[in-house]
């Protein structure tokens, strides 16, 4: 297939993906660093490049509310946000997943206030980890674009019917210009397919009631059904990722492993830092340190078994969290990894790190030091620490 090679920022790539998907409705409110996505998309709308009805709401709360109204009306519906905007949507995110609407959202990871900060960390997205949304992280612009093209297929699959957020790292990916391989519009549209919503309140001949009050007799079963959908999502994400690979040449899974087969020391990271880790591994391997990376692409549903299987043979593991959960324990990713390892009966020394909050840079040398610390731990020279801050000003 013909591939179109362009230079695009993450935001531009996500907007291009949305143009190709051509949703029926978008409802969005601007917020740094996600603003550009809808800004660029508004240009597509007003230039007649898409059929989308763009609803320029007065807040993110109303953005997600309007998305729910639209998705319940048989319309393919998308939005974009970040940070405080995602937090303002919080209440409505649970409703979107609870009444099972396959909304797709581009989410640009940014620190949460206070103090106010516009730069990348994962605290906004992590704060919504229990919202019932599927969460897909991107390492770079290409992955952001590719995952956006897969998101509708996953969200709308009959066994899933659950909203999806595809995230990029604020400024690092959203504003970083990279080489992007785009695919022809027609091929993308063929892959994404026609929209068929789970139900439709515009079907006036078959009136339905949506958003009922569900009390002690059925609420519990509603939640179990959502859990089953999340379980099915793991399979569907793999199926869609595989088909995407066959169609466009790049296959996607729940996790990606980089040189883990023979690795003594494995680092777990999400988002753009995975790219930095790969570079660190290359250098360390030259020094004879067998380093590997486990990148979590899909944080919800959490690929616990898959992660445990990779880590089973490692001598020491480091988990990097770009968010704090203020629990006095490890960050959210490390905590979940540990739970997965416990369930799988895998016992491996594990050190957890907090890094990059509010956009604090993470350098190649920082990551190499993490691997060196793992080596010391494995050799019994030091004990694994938890929630160790990388690059903190002392």
């Amino acid at each position: 297939m013909e591939k179109i090679i362009v230079a695009r920022t993450g935001n531009e790539a996500m907007a291009e993906a949305m143009r190709q998907i051509n949703p029926d409705v978008c409802a969005a409110y601007p917020i740094t660093p996600a603003t550009e996505i809808m800004q660029i998309f508004a240009g597509f709308v007003n230039d007649g490049k898409v059929k989308t009805n763009l609803i320029t709401v007065e807040s993110e709360h109303s953005a997600m509310s309007a998305c729910i109204g639209s998705a319940a009306s048989g319309a393919r519906t998308m939005t974009a946000t970040s940070s405080q905007g995602l937090a303002l949507m919080h209440e409505i995110l649970f409703i979107a997943s609870g009444i099972r609407l396959p909304i797709v959202m581009a989410d640009v990871n940014r620190a949460l206030s206070a103090p106010i900060n516009i730069h990348c960390d994962h605290s906004d997205t992590m704060a919504e980890r229990d919202s019932g949304w599927i969460q897909i992280f991107s390492e770079n612009t290409q992955e952001a674009y590719d995952s956006m093209l897969q998101a509708n297929r996953i969200a709308e699959h009959k066994d899933v019917i659950t909203p999806v957020m595809v995230t990029t790292d604020g400024f690092i990916i959203s504003h970083g210009m990279e080489r992007l391989e785009m695919y022809p519009d027609a091929e993308v549209q063929k892959f994404v397919g026609e929209y068929k919503g789970p139900y439709n309140v515009l079907d006036v001949d078959h009136p339905i009631t949506v958003g009922s009050i569900v009390l002690t007799d059925y609420y519990f079963e509603y939640k179990k059904a959502q859990r089953e959908a999340m379980k099915a999502a793991k399979r569907v994400i793999l199926e869609v990722g595989k088909e995407f690979g066959k169609t466009f040449g790049r296959e996607y899974g729940l996790i990606e492993t980089y040189k883990c087969d023979d690795a003594d020391y494995i680092m777990i990271a999400m988002g753009s830092t995975a790219g930095t880790a790969k570079a660190a591994i290359e250098e360390l391997r030259k020094e004879g340190i067998k380093a590997g990376l486990l990148k979590i692409r899909v944080f919800r549903p959490f690929p616990a078994e898959e992660i445990a299987a990779v880590l089973a043979k490692a001598k020491a593991v480091a988990v990097l969290d770009r968010a704090e959960s203020m629990s006095n324990q490890a960050g959210p990713v490390a905590t979940e990894v540990k739970a997965g390892l416990f369930d799988a009966g895998v016992k491996v020394p594990l050190a957890s790190y907090i890094y990059g909050l509010g956009g604090r840079e993470i350098f190649l040398e920082d990551l190499k030091n993490v691997y060196r610390e793992l080596k010391n731990i494995a050799e019994g020279k030091s004990k694994p620490e938890q929630a160790k801050y990388i690059g903190l000003k002392e």
């Binding site: 807040s59 729910i68 409505i92």
Partner: protein
């Protein structure tokens, strides 16, 4: 316009079996709204008494499509439904003419949902927003709202030994909506059935954003006999505390001017919520003065806007 008798002959789309209290005002409002629309209608609702008493899973009192999202976002949700409709219609995927109505109580409309309402109205969606105004947060147990009238006893502004009920006048939401320059804004009361249905019919006939604020008494929240709902909702108009009027493209029309303007005490004395207030002559004087000044202003607005 229809009488209750005529409306009774129309197929009911909000059926019996809902769990609203005997004498509740809002089911009358719903009947007035739904019997006034000839086209198919989709209903969006805020959280509140109306939603929780009519959709207890797995039952529903609605024979029209009904969507509830949250408390403060009925207008935004309805704007999404209407937005989808416009998109699908333009693409030729829908050929029917469908009307959209969002319901909220005074809590979901005057207070927590005001931003959502203002945004949806400003964007010009083709939808009707109806505020079922029972003048307090009834679903959570009679807490004061910005629609609660001065002197009313509520659970968060109780008639105490030092402070006697709510100390502020109700916010004038209808005028706030007039300031949005909508094609149609009206104030109605459930007890004046022909007036209310005439307004809803007109609202449905107009393209664009419409707002109707309908007075809907609450038996347990206000404290009166279940048989008095309609009577009360007429009495309030005769005191000019809740004038019924409409503003069409900026022009005011007062739909009913009482031949004899009754003193506010005639209304206040009928409800337990004003029981403590009745001993407070100074407060009643403030309420009377406020009512008189608002009524005088409304008369002037009618005169002024019809001269232009």
């Amino acid at each position: 316009m229809s009488s209750p008798k005529q409306a009774a002959a129309v197929e009911t789309k909000f059926i019996g079996g809902h769990r609203a209290c005997a004498g509740c005002g809002f089911p009358i409002a719903i009947k007035e709204v739904l019997s006034s629309c000839k086209d198919p209608v989709v209903v969006v609702s805020a959280t509140g008494c109306m939603e929780v008493t009519s959709t207890i899973f797995p039952y529903s009192a609605w024979k029209v499509p009904f969507l509830h999202n949250a408390f403060e976002n009925a207008a935004a949700t309805c704007s999404g439904v209407e937005g989808a409709y416009q998109s699908l219609k333009k693409q030729g995927k829908i050929d029917k003419n469908i009307k959209f109505v969002a319901f909220g109580g005074d809590g979901g409309t005057y207070d927590i949902g005001l931003q959502s309402l203002s945004g949806a109205m400003e964007r010009g969606h083709d939808m009707l927003y109806v505020c079922n105004n029972n003048e307090a947060y009834m679903n959570t147990g009679v807490q004061r709202s910005s629609a609660t009238p001065r002197g009313a006893n509520t659970t968060t502004a109780p008639a105490g030994k030092v402070i006697n009920g709510k100390q502020q006048n109700a916010k004038d939401l209808t005028e706030i909506m007039v300031a949005h320059n909508l094609p149609y804004v009206a104030q109605a009361t459930v007890g004046m059935f022909p007036d209310a249905t005439k307004k809803f019919e007109k609202a449905f006939s107009i393209t664009g954003p419409k707002f109707v604020n309908i007075y809907a008494p609450c038996v347990p929240g206000w404290g009166y006999d279940t048989s008095q709902t309609v009577k009360l909702s007429k009495l309030v108009v005769d005191t000019c505390m809740w004038p019924v009027y409409e503003v069409e493209n900026g022009k005011y029309k007062i739909n009913y001017k009482p031949a004899v303007k009754l003193p506010v005490t005639e209304y206040l004395k009928t409800q337990v919520r004003f029981k403590a207030l009745m001993k407070d002559e100074a407060a009643i004087a403030i309420i009377q003065a406020h009512t008189d000044s608002k009524w005088a202003r409304l008369l002037l607005m009618e005169e002024a806007t019809n001269k232009v």
